[in-house]
């Protein structure tokens, strides 16, 4: 078999190398999480399960729950905001409308996370764009608190994840058989009915994969909650960062990272189970 594919091993080598290094790094994290923390030192002591025992405090459970909650909110709002854009992008009749939508929705992918987060800070701040506008319009007297709130973090995360969501949804919408929509119209379905009964159900696979991808992506968000949450909104990676680089408790940071990884993989597996059941029921694949 290998003889028939002479470059098989050569081509596979970079991927294997990357995977091995990643596995080694994860093993190192695992290894750190079961070591004793020596205050005031970066060196670690012997084997202990104390780090896992230390997790059992309401503050940590709360951060974990909040991470789930923020990720889920982000996935849902990203879906709601992206679907109309993706639909317009695929169905636009004029080329320039399509190109404009593609550049508007995809270019944010190519600006760094820090740049985008910083723009959101300028927008959401007490003297930021939104508050200045609202004050000029006389709608508010005092600036409303947007920075350092869950709302602000979710807004920024939604914008951050929209390009990916739009790409996944646009692919699904482009695959909808237009003849099915025509057939539905021919059978008496109004444009609204065609959307709810044909287009939307046929794009469910795209919707589900969009939610899963954005959810998993947001679970590991760091700089957006770090800068916009400003320590008041903690997600699991911010907590790990705090433990590792402020308290310098590397073993506990490793434990938190491990928990984050397990939770992310666990929820992905759970969602995969749910989505494949829905897809089987719809039988669109």
């Amino acid at each position: 078999m290998l003889a028939k594919r002479p470059f098989f091993i050569t081509f596979l080598a970079p991927a294997v190398l990357t995977a091995v290094i990643l596995a080694a790094a994860i093993f190192e994290v695992l290894q750190y999480s079961v070591r004793e923390f020596i205050p005031g030192s970066l060196n670690v002591g012997g084997f202990t399960l104390a780090n896992f025992a230390a997790l059992n405090k309401p503050i940590y459970w709360w951060v974990l729950a909040d991470t789930f909650f923020i990720s889920l909110l982000t996935a849902i709002f990203s879906l709601l905001a992206s679907y109309p854009v993706a639909y317009a992008l695929v169905r636009a009749k004029r080329d320039w409308v399509r190109s404009a939508l593609v550049s508007l929705s995809i270019t944010p992918l190519f600006t760094g996370e820090i740049v985008r987060t910083f723009s959101w800070m300028l927008t959401l701040g007490t003297d930021g764009f939104i508050n200045s506008i609202l004050r000029k319009l006389g709608l508010i007297d005092m600036p409303i608190q947007l920075m350092y709130t869950r709302f602000g973090v979710v807004v920024a995360l939604v914008q951050f994840s929209m390009p990916v969501m739009i790409i996944l949804l646009a692919t699904a919408i482009a695959h909808v058989d237009r003849d099915c929509e025509k057939a539905a119209a021919n059978l008496g379905a109004s444009p609204t009915a065609v959307f709810w009964r044909i287009t939307l159900p046929l794009t469910v696979p795209g919707i589900l994969s969009g939610i899963v991808v954005v959810f998993a992506w947001t679970m590991s968000a760091f700089s957006t909650p770090q800068l916009i949450g400003g320590g008041k909104i903690l997600m699991i990676s911010n907590l790990a960062y705090l433990q590792g680089f402020s308290v310098l408790n590397l073993p506990f940071a490793a434990t938190l990272s491990l928990i984050a990884l397990v939770c992310a993989l666990g929820s992905l597996a759970l969602m995969k189970g749910v989505t494949s059941r829905i897809e089987r029921r719809l039988a669109v694949h």
């Binding site: 025509k182 119209a185 719809l282």
Partner: protein, 379 residues
């Protein structure tokens, strides 16, 4: 079995009191500078089975799209059951359609596909169930109600698409090349089923195809289209025997186009003088297209050209050289190159001619000129 549609296809006589189901009045569709459909007018009687026939790009599908409401005409009117529907949205038209790809809803089972149109009409559940059951029985889909449409064979999908279209009792049924995706045997069987369905439901049906065989066997009338224009509207038999122009003559069935010649009458005998090959004599005075001195082209079907009997002589016997035999089982098409006339095809029952006149050998042909179609040479 395949004889059934042919037997009943040509017996249609629209009764005058039935009225017209569809009136297409000078309908036109331009695509930018190109013409998709050019000023087509057509009246279709209630219960009639009409086929739009033509090569791809002739405008037949565009015309069907305008009747369904998916294509907006540039000009003209479309009237169904006396009501002008030209500007009406597709979903308000009450016109059933079967798509070339069937366009079944993949996320619904057979029953839900068929029930879709009735649910859109907000009929009570009991009535929906009853109507769907009737359609399922009529299309012989019993036992498949809960199947996914992807689990069905091509023929079954076709029947679901038909059931879904007829269950809403449409004013007109549109069929857009519904047989083209099926293999040959299934196609012949579905032709019979379509024909039976039309007889049972009495639905006014507009069928689009590029397959002249389907058109001839199924239709009450055929509308031949080319480059956006209607070439001829006629019953299958008329179309085959009296094509209106060279395009129709060569599009429907096989036909030999003889080179242009001049009509002459001498001593009460009509003849066609071909410059390169001498006169051909008509057995009787031709009825259509003949006028002394007129330049015409004669079109002759292969079945009206036969190999001459040994020693046979006469004015309509020409000799050429065998170019090829195309053996078809029940018959053989033999191509003969005749000096001054060109390639002539003859249709002979059986296979005897293949051995009797090998390729390259001379062969005498007798033209049955009484069956020739005469068309103006300038066309």
């Amino acid at each position: 079995m395949t004889a059934t549609p042919t037997q009943q296809a040509n017996t249609f006589n629209p009764s005058p009191e039935a009225g017209s189901a569809v009136d297409i009045v000078r309908v036109r569709k331009d695509f930018g500078a190109a013409v998709g459909v050019a000023d087509v007018s057509l009246t279709i009687a209630k219960g009639e089975f009409v086929t739009l026939l033509g090569p791809s790009g002739c405008g037949k599908s565009t015309l069907l799209g305008m009747i369904a409401g998916f294509v907006t005409p540039t000009a003209g009117r479309i009237v169904v059951d006396g009501a002008d529907i030209t500007g009406l949205e597709p979903y308000r038209r009450d016109i059933g359609m079967v798509f070339q790809s069937y366009a079944l809803f993949p996320h619904m089972n057979v029953r839900d596909n068929i029930a879709f149109g009735l649910k859109m009409r907000k009929l009570p559940a009991a009535q929906v169930e009853q109507e769907v059951a009737r359609a399922i029985a009529m299309m012989k889909l019993d036992g498949f109600e809960n199947r996914r449409v992807r689990q069905l064979s091509g023929g079954q999908q076709q029947r679901v698409a038909l059931a879904r279209a007829i269950v809403i009792r449409p004013k007109v049924l549109l069929l857009d090349e519904p047989l083209s995706a099926l293999d040959k045997n299934l196609r012949a069987q579905m032709q019979v089923e379509l024909s039976e369905l039309h007889r049972k439901t009495g639905l006014t049906t507009i069928f689009v195809t590029h397959d002249q065989g389907e058109a001839l066997s199924l239709s009450d009338r055929i509308v031949v289209m080319n480059k956006g224009s209607v070439q001829q509207v006629a019953t299958p038999i008329e179309l085959y025997r009296q094509p209106a122009n060279g395009f129709v003559a060569s599009f429907i069935g096989e036909i030999n186009a003889l080179p242009p010649g001049r009509c002459e009458v001498k001593d009460g005998i009509a003849s066609l003088v071909l410059p390169g090959a001498g006169p051909l004599v008509f057995p009787a005075m031709p009825a259509a297209g003949f006028a002394p001195g007129r330049q015409v082209r004669a079109f002759l079907r292969p079945e009206h050209v036969r190999p001459a009997a040994p020693g046979e002589a006469g004015p309509n016997i020409v000799t050429g050289k065998v170019d090829a035999h195309i053996y078809q089982g029940s018959h053989t098409i033999t191509r003969v190159v005749v000096e001054g006339i060109g390639l002539v095809e003859t249709r002979v029952t059986g296979s005897d001619i293949v051995a009797g006149a090998p390729v390259g050998a001379p062969l005498a042909l007798a033209f049955d000129l009484g069956e020739a179609v005469l068309l103006d040479a300038s066309e």
